[in-house]
Symmetry: C2
Subunit: 204 residues, 2 copies
Amino acid sequence: MPQLEFFFEFASTYSYPCAMRIEEVAAGKGVEVVWRPFLLGPIFEAQHGVADSVFNNHPQKGAYMWRDVKRICDKQGLPFKRPEVFPQNGLKAARMACVMLEEDQTTAIKFIQGVYLANFRAGVSISDESILERIIAEAGGDADHFMVRGASEDAKNALRTNTDIAVARDVFGAPTFFTPDGEMFWGNDRLEDSLDWTRAQASA
Amino acid sequence: MPQLEFFFEFASTYSYPCAMRIEEVAAGKGVEVVWRPFLLGPIFEAQHGVADSVFNNHPQKGAYMWRDVKRICDKQGLPFKRPEVFPQNGLKAARMACVMLEEDQTTAIKFIQGVYLANFRAGVSISDESILERIIAEAGGDADHFMVRGASEDAKNALRTNTDIAVARDVFGAPTFFTPDGEMFWGNDRLEDSLDWTRAQASA
């Protein structure tokens, strides 16, 4: 089955509805998803000189984004509450996601979706270890095991590698998709296009 | 018929495919389009301190935009060539569009689409008066009349009013749509959503 790479950031608002729907949409189009957690902070810092989100630096764009994401979630039947802290620090969660994706993809996807719901439905801290432990357990994972593995050098290296790949490919936001022939698509609203591109290439 | 306001900028790449398709898509959903030319330059200057496009200031985002717009135009069956000058100065064309829209909507829409094709298909200067004269004539308008009217105080005031409205409503990019109940939607890829919102409100 052709694969689509899905670069996502736990702090990213538009990555949330995307992460909740990508498996179903991709399956419907016969495409497999390769989940790639990465960090936007270092990218923003390299490209803009500030690690903060453009949505905080540009109030008009920020206000629109909050309204737009709410509408998207409403349409998708997803709960959404603007978190008090934005962007949240997703470093630990992203490292954990990296090792979980290697060891157990099904549990990893449930964990990733649980982290997004913690951020954008519950509005709790996704860098709090007790919360991450609970999300792992709710996803059906071994919390003790993944809390240790998620803090390992393997996890740090895996996340650094994904972020380095994103930088090398000129990623500037999330979610971002790459098709097997290297086409980049940016944004939850380009998911269908990226999958159609992947299918068209696979059958060409 | 319920109305959707369509704020567009002649320099804006994503406004081009939108301006070419909006009448047909809106008619299919039973919505009337209110065309509102405006200028992004003063908005960028007020919000970022620079009148230039973010696509020039942020190379990774700019490179992606050119590729993305090419894909969108390909999908829509529209010619597209990256112009040598970006963003072009659409001041005169926007003033002309304002008065044409008041006097003769059909000719005005043909003129507007002609200006976009001059910018993004032919790559010629859309501030060159001889080119504007030709586009008016090709749209079926009286070139002598509109060249004079387009430089009048009426035209200047109409464009200034549209831009002031856009500023007051926190517009930050183009195309931007407003529904009758004041919902703002940004981007060619939100056209369908903005029309669906307009319909839903009208039948509520």
